[in-house]
Symmetry: C2
Subunit: 599 residues, 2 copies
Amino acid sequence: MKNLDETPRSERNTENNCQEEENQLETSHNKSPLLSDSWKPYQRPQWLLKLRCCLGAVCGMEWYGYAALGILTGFLSFLMDLSVSKLLRAHQWLYMKLEGHSLLQFLCWTLYPSCICVVGSSFSHSICPFSTGSGIPEVRAMLAGFEMPHYLSVTNLFTKYVGLICTLAAGSTIFLGKVGPFVHLSTMVGAYLSKLCSLDKAAGEMMVVAAAVGVASCFGAPVSGVLFSVEVMSSHFAVKHYVPCFFSTACGALTFHLFSVWSGDGETLQVLFKTNFPTALPFYPLEIVLFALLGLLCGAVSCCYLFCHRWILQYTMKQLLTSLLDGRQWTSESHNASVQVDPKPWLEWSSSGSSVYMTLTFFLLMKMWMLVLACTLPVPAGCFMPVFVYGAALGRLFGEGGAYVLSGLTSGQQWASINPGGYALAGAAAFSGAVTHTLSPALLAIELTGQFSHAVPALIATVLANARSRSGHRPSFYDAISISKRLPHLPSLKKACPWLPSTPVGQVLGAKAVQLQKTAGLVEVQHAVNSCTETQIPVVDSHGVQIFNSIMIIVLLQAHSILSLVGTQALFVTDSGRLVGLITWPEMKRILEDLAKEI
Amino acid sequence: MKNLDETPRSERNTENNCQEEENQLETSHNKSPLLSDSWKPYQRPQWLLKLRCCLGAVCGMEWYGYAALGILTGFLSFLMDLSVSKLLRAHQWLYMKLEGHSLLQFLCWTLYPSCICVVGSSFSHSICPFSTGSGIPEVRAMLAGFEMPHYLSVTNLFTKYVGLICTLAAGSTIFLGKVGPFVHLSTMVGAYLSKLCSLDKAAGEMMVVAAAVGVASCFGAPVSGVLFSVEVMSSHFAVKHYVPCFFSTACGALTFHLFSVWSGDGETLQVLFKTNFPTALPFYPLEIVLFALLGLLCGAVSCCYLFCHRWILQYTMKQLLTSLLDGRQWTSESHNASVQVDPKPWLEWSSSGSSVYMTLTFFLLMKMWMLVLACTLPVPAGCFMPVFVYGAALGRLFGEGGAYVLSGLTSGQQWASINPGGYALAGAAAFSGAVTHTLSPALLAIELTGQFSHAVPALIATVLANARSRSGHRPSFYDAISISKRLPHLPSLKKACPWLPSTPVGQVLGAKAVQLQKTAGLVEVQHAVNSCTETQIPVVDSHGVQIFNSIMIIVLLQAHSILSLVGTQALFVTDSGRLVGLITWPEMKRILEDLAKEI
């Protein structure tokens, strides 16, 4: 065993690093890969460099960055909750003060949240329009290697934070959540920190960590935060990111909880939603069947929800009104639908063979809470928590119903103590998991309530709901947004175009690739060099050229995996041992952007 | 948005699959990639094929495989626990019956476990010697793509199962665990099932799932099972394996718990280790500092433990005796150690500058419980649980000590209700996490006790213990076994040889690679084809040849990542856009095996 104890070597490295970092600090001001606006840190004094060297001797500077990221995001989350609760209390106080004046009370009840919402919306729109919406699809595209500098600017951070406070303060009426925007906020904090500490090398890792910290700081739930980001953000997870993620989320959750304790919310670190489930007998073993049924139900309802969501993303209000105000009768049109004429707007209302009456009724039913959900409002807001609450309501209904039916059947003897709260927990996990195509909400529901007794039922319900909702390659909530916003995110594109995995890379690489034949003369070389903007030109064998358009051993998806995982700049595509093409990272990005535009 | 609703297509696929699978079933008997022994399933009757088609119409056959894997492993785990408890009860019954006969009682107390241990050991040794030890390092090497067919045979499954029951039944005295061997057992069940259901395509995925199910079924802890396998098994985790893993572990945990309920162990699904922590105030916020200190302590102790473990793996008993019985005086030798003579055995006793007395004292202290740990016994047994228990004891000591000191300092007013049980929980998580270089024991400790209140302290202690134990690229417990057994596992090799990441692939690829120059004549082509056993020969440009031995753009690790992730058969190595070499999967395996032998 050679050189197992390498302490001297690592000490030497620390000294060298110190010197290198000082040099790096001097030059890092000129580079601005993440922040596009003109903000620049001030020239650092000498003592700061010395402090940096001392800190760097204990552990890598990036670890201080991760800790700072967790602490800052946890603090921001606590401050947001505090502001929102103050604003809500002010609303209630005003309402109470106006007792006796019914009209004023009515105006207070309706105008206060509307005004806050309008303030938030106009603030976002005027300062930074990129700050609206959830942000998760954009963060995902950035993690996949696409640069979107406006989404990481400090202006955006500030606008999104204030806008989100306004949205949440009007939350009792417009029913919007905090998770998605907080992931985006946390990513912006991460980008700012990696700029501030000159951690350019660790900027990519910082973004992965920031995505996890966002969810964790939202609720003080460290484990499910990491798992949610693993599931939503990428198709492969490098295990080396595991420890930074957990370290930073633990810091974030701890900060969030400690500030809550110090602000007088409780004596010690507590779960966010206290429950009083019976501990002796949380549920009967056979209730597992009911939990499984609930999972399937949630999966089915989530399919309806996702269908409506995808569908609403395609229309504007104007298109909807145009089709609804159309003068012709829909039924007669759909009867002879076999006559293929030019596409009419109302044909969407009778898709997949059902009558327009049913579709309309269904639309009205769904629209009711779709309006309530208000996810199309131009304010910074997420949809995870509303979906979570909706699932909890669904589970509660199921649980209450089940308890009623079973107590009637068995004369109330054995099943008297069925706990509908457990079904609400499992329903929340299953429905939000099915909508986002993830399993981590099962753990989140447990972390939020502290009810570990229901871990297995919640997991089973979530797995079954996922099975139902993923069948037939349907896109998830975030996938649908990615597709509608034309973001070049490969897993979403894969769901929108199921033919993608079997597309040979040659088809999208196409005729644009400049190659040189082995037997090429000087003139051809000159021509190739002139016509090509790349710094590398592949030289292929004359046989290679013949094979070029046939099946290749790499398909598009594999090429993307290799490029994004290994960070190689160029990749040679071969068939039967022959070089048949070259694919570079900028080219891969262009292909994905083209694909996203095509859909 | 093209073709979002692809139901007709997927239906068509199902029909085609049915036909394909029937054909595949007929031919699959001839291939035997996983099971090397002569066992073959009987010729399937027609109704079985029909049933298979019906099942395949609901969801893919691999999902039935995952469910069966979970259920079978959960049942095996329950059956093992039952057998072990019966054997332990028989021991106690015999001891009670012999009351009054002190000598017989003494013999019963000592001989009974010894006999069981001997039976297990000789059984393992005579039937299948591969069944001894933990099995996790071997499973890890198999997951990395190396074929070790003897480790997956049905004979091994049977031998390991019986051997493990014997080990655990003698467990009160020899202190060995169940986790590692159960991961191996689960992998064997998975390999058997994928053979039985002709799931050759999903065999790789089945192994990933099986590794997770092994941990989950051991304790009925589904979430930490998946996380442990993610952390220990590979360096990259594909998110598409997430749902199969959780589905199978949920089945396994449910089976394990339900059988426990039906056997009369309790009224409903319960945590394995019941606790009675106070719910109102689980811990004071400032105790976080103590938990962090405990984490650092556990990390430091784990470094000692891992050092001893690595060291004991290098020596046989004979070598130890030789050095201990050496006639020369050690102190005088170590005083003029600067004179470089031939390596002497006792110099290992005074490595890293400390005196031999200290090292000896340290060795004796550690040896005491190293003997108790008995991880070198040739029986199927794991070391995770003993380490977990050791950590719990360490945490308990720390907690009790802290409570005593603090109650003395503050006159017992505020700190009277400190709960040392919480420290035991955090200590168990931190120590086992530090020894195995993982974070999932934090979640495991919570899943085993159901105490979610301690999630944040346990996570913080585990992260800090990991930080301490990973510093300086020290190998983990499993890494040390991989290195000592010369298993070609790249992440372990990386820890044993820190120079590996900077090794250019050309250095290990070396002169053996046959290439053809662009200007080669017919004779040279003939010669190259004759001298090369590969089916592919790279053709290189004359400039390429000159660059061949200089720095290349891929280093060894990246090449391995690409090959193992994408499953490509051959990879061209390029520098500055020129083809400079070819590396194939068999070649990569050979390189790793050579490296493992070299260490």
